[in-house]
């Protein structure tokens, strides 16, 4: 049994357990929906005009959903509307009397209504997304409504700052709960990593760090205030408070900030998508030019990304790694005679490094992708250069290993030869490959079967 297989063993039950967490989310969501609708139907809707107004906001918000990169779906307006309904205080002096179950029921029905246009267009939402939204609304309502109805909040609400602090607390806890639920539903990552990613997304919206540029790191680190989660929380409180203070007619007016958030994130997501398509087209050029087996760039991109996830890279580094891995063969375009099959592995090391540098040169000319260019330049450098120098960057080491693996598998033309390929990568006496990366790759392949 190889080392990687041995390391995989204890992971297996954990993976099985992970699958259950997603089911738990779905079951909880379904239970909440059934209980809420049943209870509300039995008791009748309390204060139907409030339910109607907020239900309409949620439904409209839901029709205008945004899919963020990383396949994260959000509906800033819908989520803000749901939060506002959960946190609704006295409306112009009239006590609001809807309970937790009615909140969940209204949100559920509105979600359903808002989802219909998507279903008609053949884009049904994931069940986990619906469950998440229901659970988040239910959680916020559970924190607020019983306390408010019981009069426990009266002393707090008399003081502006105390009320504000309490609301912020409720919203923060709700966001935390939502992040946990979301991490439970995203089974493709280990729970801890998924939770961290969700929390980061909560603070930084689109995880701004995911995008790069000359100052990519700075904005990434300082992304705390600008998250979509912040916008949703603030808008939800704003709508609830303004409706309470000024009346229901203010609800559409105070939805405007959320609408602006929605529009801006939509445009951003659209541009991101287009950019990604261009990177993909760029990465396929060597194949089109006859230097690379079909799908090589895409395979290396995906595998390198998976290995990067396994080695715990952050989202900035992951995105750069993926782009660099996809574009790693660009340098071959500068060769007069294409390398047969695009397989650089058999070339002398100096030649491999020259091709890497040529590719980096091209990418660097774009003026924005400097860090990607740096990774591409380093992809052929050996792990140990024999002179005790520092190793190349991790992203470069990952691409070197993954590229070698894909070349070797292509050369042997037999997918069952994985064992021999790994034997060769591990036996590497010259120290070209980082053993940690090789083992991570073995694990990734093991998991995907």
């Amino acid at each position: 049994m190889t080392a990687s297989e041995a390391r995989c063993e204890p992971g297996a039950p954990a993976t099985r357990l992970r699958a259950y967490t997603a089911t738990v989310v779905l079951v909880l969501g379904a239970l909440a929906a059934v209980a809420a609708v049943a209870a509300t139907a039995a008791r009748g809707v309390v204060q139907p005009s409030y339910a109607l107004v907020f239900g309409a906001v949620i439904a409209v918000g839901e029709t205008a959903r945004v899919t963020l990169p990383g396949n994260r779906q959000t509906a800033p307006l819908g989520a803000a509307g749901a939060l506002a309904y959960a946190l609704l205080p006295d409306v112009h002096g009239t006590v609001s009397r809807h309970g937790v179950l009615q909140v969940v029921a209204v949100v559920g029905v509105a979600l359903l209504a808002g989802t219909l246009p998507h279903v008609v267009r053949g884009r049904a939402p994931e069940p986990a997304y619906v469950a998440r939204r229901l659970l988040a609304a239910g959680f916020a309502a559970t924190l607020f409504r019983p306390l408010y109805a019981g009069g426990g909040l009266d002393p707090v609400m008399a003081r502006g700052w105390a009320y504000g602090t309490f609301l912020v607390l409720v919203v923060l806890l709700t966001s935390l709960c939502d992040a946990v639920v979301a991490a439970m539903a995203r089974v493709e990552r280990p729970f801890r990593a998924a939770l961290l990613a969700e929390l980061r997304a909560l603070c930084a919206g689109l995880s701004p760090a995911e995008r790069f540029g000359p100052d990519g790191e700075d904005t990434g680190r300082a992304g705390g205030l600008t998250g979509i989660g912040t916008a949703v929380g603030a808008s939800g409180m704003l709508i609830a408070l303004s409706a309470g203070a000024l009346g229901l007619w203010t609800v559409p007016v105070f939805c405007l900030p959320s609408l602006l958030v929605l529009l801006s994130f939509r445009r951003y997501a659209a541009t991101r998508l287009v950019h990604r398509q261009t990177v993909d087209a760029l990465s396929r050029l060597p194949e089109a030019a006859g230097c690379g087996s079909p799908g090589h760039a895409a395979r290396v991109g995906d595998l390198a990304h998976a290995v990067g996830v396994d080695l715990g890279l952050g989202e900035v580094e992951l995105r750069e790694l993926r782009y660099a891995a996809k574009m790693h063969d660009i340098g071959q375009l500068a060769l007069a005679e294409p390398v047969p099959g695009g397989i650089t592995l058999e070339l002398p090391e100096a030649e491999q490094r020259r091709i890497a540098r040529l590719g980096a040169e091209v990418i660097r000319e774009s003026g924005v992708l400097d860090r990607v260019a740096g990774i591409v330049a380093a992809q052929a450098d050996p792990y140990r250069d024999g002179r005790g120098g520092p190793p190349p960057p991790l992203a470069g080491r990952i691409i070197k290993v993954v590229n070698a693996y894909d070349d070797l598998i292509t050369l042997t033309e037999d997918p069952r030869s994985r064992r021999e390929v790994f034997a060769r990568l591990r036996a590497d006496a010259a120290g070209a490959y980082d053993p940690r990366v090789v083992e991570a790759l073995a694990q990734v392949l093991e998991r995907s079967g």
Binding site: T230, L256, L260, H275, L285, A288, L358, E365
Partner: protein, 451 residues
């Protein structure tokens, strides 16, 4: 430090010099100290945020503070309102390099605030707006907001006209039209803030209103950057194509430029012009799949080689098939070697069957090829090239496009052909064995394709 024109100096001197006594002389009576403190903190905090991430939006970073400025007009007398707004604007703009403009623009706020505040008071606007004031309270607010917009806009425009020596009317139009949506939209937002402020929420209301706006702005800023990154990736794509074939160096870019000239002349819609530009830049992307040997072969291509060469529009279109933003440009890339008489390739389309983009690119492509220097012949002048295009107009090229190019060139001119062949070859090493004896100029290739 750049020198200012005399009129700009006077403008700056009067406004900056006058703003300090103005801050003291403007009405301060009836100021609510709690509000003053809270708003001052907000101005500074959001000034810092705006400076850090919203640069380049709403014209200048301080534009993002506009809702807060509107709220200050409603909540505070003119003196304290201006006193706290100016530092916020200075902070927000601290990242911009031009110190004079930064200070003068901040100083513009003082008279603008003073006028707006006066208007608000004259119309009996209250400093303590509540829900019950709302329908009636809208008018003074709207008038004050309008005053703020007009006065600050006029002052900004005057200063810009003075520093840049630009004509007044276009500057006025630009300043007022570009900022209208956001600056006027800020007025109701400021009112919301002021009313909620009054309803036991205080500064919390302002934060709640501003936060989502800032998140939206942030996303807009990200979008602008992502767009720039995308453009850069497209440039990389073009460069990658040009690596292989030295002669095309700069050719794609020039074809794109000529195509845009034609499109403008034809009065094409702006979004189509953008796509046509992409089509021009990427029209030869398929050349990557033509082997270097064929691409650089001296002398005539044999039938097999010609077939390989003529496949490039199809492979090119396939290579960019996944790029949805290209839209119509796909057809332009696929058909840029068609001829009006139907003897072109790959589909043998004739006349109006050929997509408009392709007809534009065909003309631009041939023109640039003829005006570029090749090692076996010098560049033709633009006039000679135009004459050649006219000669083939109707059979090979769409006469409309040829005429549009002629008119555009008469108006804008075309940079004289420098030695373009092989330029920049020191940056990316030329493929080994490539003589750069470019034997397949576009014109010749076309002739081959047509016969």
């Amino acid at each position: 430090m750049r020198t200012l024109s005399p009129s700009a100096r006077i403008h700056a001197g009067v406004l900056v010099g006058g703003s300090v006594p103005a801050l003291i002389l403007l009405p301060w009576s009836g100021v609510d100290l709690d509000r003053l403190g809270a708003l001052a903190v907000l101005f500074i905090a959001f000034g810092v945020v705006a400076r850090a991430r919203l640069t380049g939006l709403c014209g200048a970073p301080d534009g993002a503070l506009f809702p807060l400025v509107c709220a200050a007009v409603l909540l505070l007398p003119a003196g304290p309102a201006a006193t706290i707004a100016v530092p916020g604007v200075l902070i927000a703009r601290a990242g911009t390099p031009d110190m004079v403009t930064r200070v003068v623009n901040a100083a513009h706020l003082v008279p603008a605030l003073a006028v707006a505040s006066r208007v608000y008071e004259l119309l009996h606007g209250t400093r303590y707006p509540t829900a019950s004031d709302l329908p009636a309270g809208l008018w003074p607010t709207a008038a004050a907001g309008l005053a703020l917009y007009v006065v600050s806009g006029l002052l900004d425009a005057a200063f810009r006209a003075a520093t840049q020596g630009a004509a007044r009317l276009p500057v006025l139009r630009e300043v007022f039209v570009r900022s209208a949506g956001w600056r006027l939209g800020s007025v109701p937002i400021g009112l919301m803030m002021a009313v909620l402020w009054q309803q036991r929420l205080g500064v919390f209301a302002a934060v709640l209103v501003l936060l989502p706006l800032y998140v939206a702005f942030w996303a807009f800023a990200q979008q602008v950057r992502e767009q720039a990154a995308h453009e850069a990736t497209v440039r990389t794509l073009v460069r990658a194509v040009e690596i292989k074939d030295g002669y095309t160096r700069g050719h794609s870019e020039r074809v794109a430029r000529a195509s845009v000239l034609i499109a403008r002349r034809l009065g094409m819609r702006e979004d189509r012009v953008v796509r046509l530009r992409y089509a021009g830049v990427l029209h030869d992307v398929g050349k990557l799949s033509v082997s270097t040997r064929v691409l650089t072969k001296p002398g005539r291509l044999d039938a097999e080689e010609l077939r390989e060469m003529q496949r490039h529009p199809v492979t090119g279109a396939e290579m960019v098939a996944g790029l949805t933003f290209l839209g119509e440009a796909h057809a332009g890339i696929l058909h840029h070697h068609e001829r009006m008489d139907g003897r072109g390739y790959p589909a043998g389309l004739a006349g109006a069957e050929i997509p408009e983009f392709a007809r534009v690119i065909a003309v631009a492509d041939a023109f640039d090829s003829m005006t570029s220097t090749r090692s076996y012949r010098p560049a033709r002048g633009a006039d000679a090239a135009m004459a050649e295009l006219r000669r083939c107009s109707g059979t090979q090229f769409d006469p409309r496009m040829v005429e549009a190019l002629a008119q555009a060139l008469a108006r804008h001119g075309w940079p004289e052909a420098e030695v373009r062949d092989g330029e920049g070859s020191d940056r990316v090493p030329a493929p080994r064995g490539q003589s750069r004896a470019d034997t397949h100029s576009v014109a010749r290739e076309r002739a081959g394709g047509g016969s």
